[in-house]
Assembly symmetry: C2
Homo-oligomer: 231 residues x 2
DNA sequence: CGGGTGCTTGACAGCTCTCAACTAGAGTGG
DNA sequence: CCACTCTAGTTGAGAGCTGTCAAGCACCCG
């Protein structure tokens, strides 16, 4: 009995293209690993030794300048694939934002297996193309949107991404959700400072667009306003 | 005799994974097309009807907001692949910056052919992963760098990308090159305004870091200074 | 030579960053 | 249970960078 049989992302992750025999073979290469919030999984510019599927939790992908500025370049949710197959080094660090569970493979093992299983490579390709689309739309945000547009866009994306990861059938975007980000991390996603993020959150609250019951919880009160602000 | 036989990017584009028979089959699906500078090839949010390989020239990938702000999210050089296979719509418009020659396929034809030829999909996967890496490092630039860092990074990247596309063995980055971008387009790449770009160029010239013999030509005089500025 | 486009330069405003002080909340130990 | 500490977040004042608006310049083309 392989652990993949009970995997909650079995039908959503790139593994979904594999039959039972293939899953069994892949299972012998991978292993489960728990990562606590704040713990790194992959280092930027490291020899990229491992790749992984996210089973549970949220992780951030970041790049940094030498002088310590950080930019979050991606966020991985359950069923997402992380790491850099077919390349020598990773271009981003991966750090858990929440306690997370991942299914890790050595890069070499994964590369070899993938080359022998076109169905897996195809799933990975579709996922990578979708991620590239998302990343490009984020470039628009970083390059051309002002602070309030960035915050509005961010909250709308969060309400969608966090709704998807639930097991229940998708009922549209979540009205209320818990951010997996600190204020600083929100700033690192949006290319802003923590103070600007804080001020924008306060403004949205004062304007009655959102409620912020705790530091991490968000309730969208006036979604149309948020959509209008997102630009 | 297929036109692929004489294709200058035959050994660099995703086609390089195919044998002669496969190339012949692919050749029957595609056709050459010339695009003049300024002419669009793919519209954003359009039903993505075609994909293509760039043979010659440079094209921009852009996304826009409703109110007309534009962000260049990618640049395609010879041997690069453009378009969005395995998806309904394209997330970016593609417009030629210079006169260009491309090898176009209907998306459906290409999708079908790719699924039957894992070697091609693998090449496309490697290319997409590399493009994602590049895009992510550009996010760092957009989110966290100031105007002079952006300009310096841009010029260094240009000197590398434009050197690669030549036929001669790569001799390292070009010292002198012709920008395929207008000032406005440079601004659209970097998330700046045309005025800020112009001022930064003037400053680099006055500081003796670059020379600007014409509007489009750049000669890097003091590369170390540029590297130091890039952050 | 004149017109047009693209680029440069200047003056100024405004947004976001920086620096600093303060507050709220979570965790700890008495 | 409460005081204490520590961190995360908020708020304020001011500066600086980049954007905006406007004018002028330079190059390309007929």
């Amino acid at each position: 009995m392989s652990s993949c049989d009970t995997c909650v992302v079995r039908n959503r992750a790139i593994c979904s293209g594999l039959n039972d025999g293939e899953i069994g073979a892949l299972n012998t290469l991978g292993r489960r690993r728990n990562v606590v919030a704040g713990e790194p999984l992959i280092w930027e510019d490291d020899d990229s030794l491992l790749v992984a599927n996210v089973i549970e939790g949220v992780l951030k992908l970041t790049t940094s300048t030498e002088d310590g500025r950080e930019q979050i370049v991606g966020v991985a949710y359950p069923s997402d694939f992380i790491g850099r197959p077919f390349g020598q080094t990773s271009s981003a660090s991966v750090v858990a934002l929440t306690d997370a569970r991942v299914c890790v493979f050595s890069r070499n093992d994964f590369d070899r297996f993938a080359r022998e299983h076109p169905g897996l490579e195809h799933k990975l390709l579709e996922r990578t193309l979708a991620e590239l689309d998302r990343t490009r739309s984020w470039m628009m945000l970083l390059g051309r949107k002002n602070a309030s547009e960035k915050i509005a866009t961010f909250l709308l994306e969060m309400s969608e991404r966090l709704a998807e990861s639930g097991c229940a059938p998708v009922l549209g975007p979540a009205k209320r959700f818990t951010l997996p980000f600190s204020r600083q991390q929100v700033a690192d996603v949006l290319g802003l400072t923590i103070e600007t993020v804080s001020r924008q959150f306060t403004k949205l609250k004062n304007d009655g667009v959102v409620e912020l019951p705790t530091r991490r919880d968000v309730e969208i009160v006036d979604r149309p306003a948020l959509v209008a602000m997102a630009g």
